[in-house]
Symmetry: C2
Amino acid sequence: MAEQNRVVLHGMWASPFAKRVELALKIKGIPFEYVEEDIQNKSPELVKLNPVYKKVPVLVHNGRPICESFVIMEYIDEVWKNNGPPLLPQDPYRRSQIRFWADFVQKQVFEGLFLSLTTEGEAQEKAIKEVKEKLKVLEEQGLKSLLSEAEGSPFVNGDELGFLDIVTLTVLGMYEIHEEFSGMKLVEEEKIPIMYSWLNRLKEHPVAKEAGAPKEKVLALLQFIRQKALRSTAA
Amino acid sequence: MAEQNRVVLHGMWASPFAKRVELALKIKGIPFEYVEEDIQNKSPELVKLNPVYKKVPVLVHNGRPICESFVIMEYIDEVWKNNGPPLLPQDPYRRSQIRFWADFVQKQVFEGLFLSLTTEGEAQEKAIKEVKEKLKVLEEQGLKSLLSEAEGSPFVNGDELGFLDIVTLTVLGMYEIHEEFSGMKLVEEEKIPIMYSWLNRLKEHPVAKEAGAPKEKVLALLQFIRQKALRSTAA
């Protein structure tokens, strides 16, 4: 196949970063080839495509690599302007708010969630409590107005998933599995009702459902990450 | 003054994040009011404008706040398309490369530099060594092709400062003061010649010179940050 217009995504099934790019391509209706990478044993091709971080996702378009999930999502939105729905709105102020909250979900919620996965006892309880506080901030200061401006549409981006919908889906789409794994509630309907129903709409989107992984496989991976982290802390 | 079209930047003289926004506005020729914030004693207005992080910079445009330096720079480029030079190029692939490397300068170089400021002895030497390795990566894998594609222009963005030029200027523009402060070389002409001459062109840009702070004031601040960090480590 000619390199011209060829689109290849190097991903890994459990990577929320790679999943974002996969969802963005699917929502936009862009045909692509998928290469599953083994992050325990990185392929020479991945190292060559992303020599700086040696990580997924890498999107290869016209033979040229693009790395980092947010950078790739902006690229997709700019290159395929006329394919499917835009991932970001037109209005510059609203774009700025979407970018701000997507960054918040990544830096504050994802990193807190990861910390809860790799800690025990009080430290874990503290991490979960902090994630819940961040979700409250997201609901009160971000989501409430972003969704009301979407005027009854199911998603922040309107009738289709957009930038913030996709990023949140890849961080919190499996919140019930996280709750089962930690034995602690993360998303309580009575405390963050807007978030709760938004997350449930996100999860039910056909593209999200199709891209999801089996629960047992996710639980096994969470267990693997946790054991590895706790062993290294104990050592 | 009517809120309509009013542009106010809340900054702090030593913040590289606020400085980015100031430089971007000046390069684009956008008139703005400047409010200096005291980060030891945050104003109620700052807390109200940026309730999530309570940090500078905040850009207020038409009465609405925008936070986070990269988000603000994208906003400026989108709103004032026809004022002065664009901060990002037109081509989506080149835009992706600029965003990738700006993020690298922030996450890898800035954070390493900050670590070197707050550590002593071997830990400090290690931090500086790592910053130098990152600069080599930036030169070899980023700057070399970005500048050669700029075809003899002094800056990555061409004849005027753009997104990556500005971000790098706010992180490394004072590298000589850092070298004097730590007593260790950061930017060696023989090791990273492209970076060395680019940084020296950046520093000499009239807008950069005008926005710079007096050396003694910067040294005193570095000393303050260092003492505070080392005291809290010792405590």
